[in-house]
């Protein structure tokens, strides 16, 4: 069963990983992905993340359930923040655990590809020169085709 949290506050990656690894004891392989706010060479002041409460949790749960159906996993964890974040802050994390590393890697990359383009989050950059919504990248949409 996936552990999914959408929250405004920060999370402690080390504590999350310690808890996750303890919960999936028996799995030999754990993969994590952490997304960070880039500082864009100092031009970014803040990243604002909007989401769709209710749908977000449903969409992430559906994506995680699909990962658990496709690969042999011992567990997966998704934590995604919303609200206003500063440069260098962690936006989100996923972690996957599996008996074998290939499953853990594939599932983590699958989760990321789907979270990018199919979970209802939107990013707005606040910089010295103004504010702008981040545009979806064609590469992110293309990344879904391989699964």
């Amino acid at each position: 069963m996936a552990d999914i949290r959408v929250q405004a506050g920060p999370f402690d990656l080390g504590r999350e990983m310690d808890r996750f690894e303890a919960a999936v004891s028996g799995a030999g392989a754990v993969v994590s992905f952490t997304g960070l706010v880039r500082d864009e060479g100092g031009r970014l002041e803040a990243m604002e993340i909007e989401h769709y409460p209710g749908m977000t949790e449903r969409a992430v749960a559906a994506i995680a359930a699909e990962a658990e159906r496709r690969w042999r996993l011992a567990g997966c964890l998704v934590v995604h923040r919303h609200g206003r974040l500063g440069p260098g802050e962690r936006i989100m994390m996923v972690a996957t655990a599996a008996p074998h590393r290939a499953d853990a890697f594939a599932a983590a990359e699958f989760l990321m590809d789907y979270l990018k383009s199919r979970a209802p989050f939107w990013k707005k950059e606040h910089g010295a020169s103004g504010k702008a919504w981040v545009a979806a990248r064609d590469a992110d949409e293309d990344a879904l085709r391989r699964w």
């Binding site: 769709y52 749908m55 969409a59 990018k116 990013k123 545009a135 949409e141």
Partner: protein
């Protein structure tokens, strides 16, 4: 009556995050036509439908999705999570 939600720049153009709409529109596309006809801000927000995604009752859907029985429709740009 249906709850209509807007996110990101769609919300900013329309000026509200959510409103209750009295409608008999059979599909999402028909609802969009009704909204467009209301005021300029809706016409601007829905100017390019290729740039807009739709969810009906919190599930991604197309503009041709039926609205019969739906409680909630949302309009937003392509998602940029992760």
């Amino acid at each position: 009556m249906i709850d209509v939600l807007y996110f990101a720049w769609v919300r900013e153009r329309i000026g509200v995050p959510k409103e209750r709409v009295e409608t008999e529109a059979p599909t999402v596309a028909a609802l969009v036509e009704e909204l467009r006809a209301r005021e300029e801000r809706y016409a601007m927000a829905f100017a390019d439908l290729a740039a807009i995604r739709v969810a009906v009752d919190q599930e991604l859907a197309g503009f041709d999705a039926p609205l019969a029985g739906a409680r909630e429709v949302a309009f937003f740009p392509p998602m940029t999570g992760g």
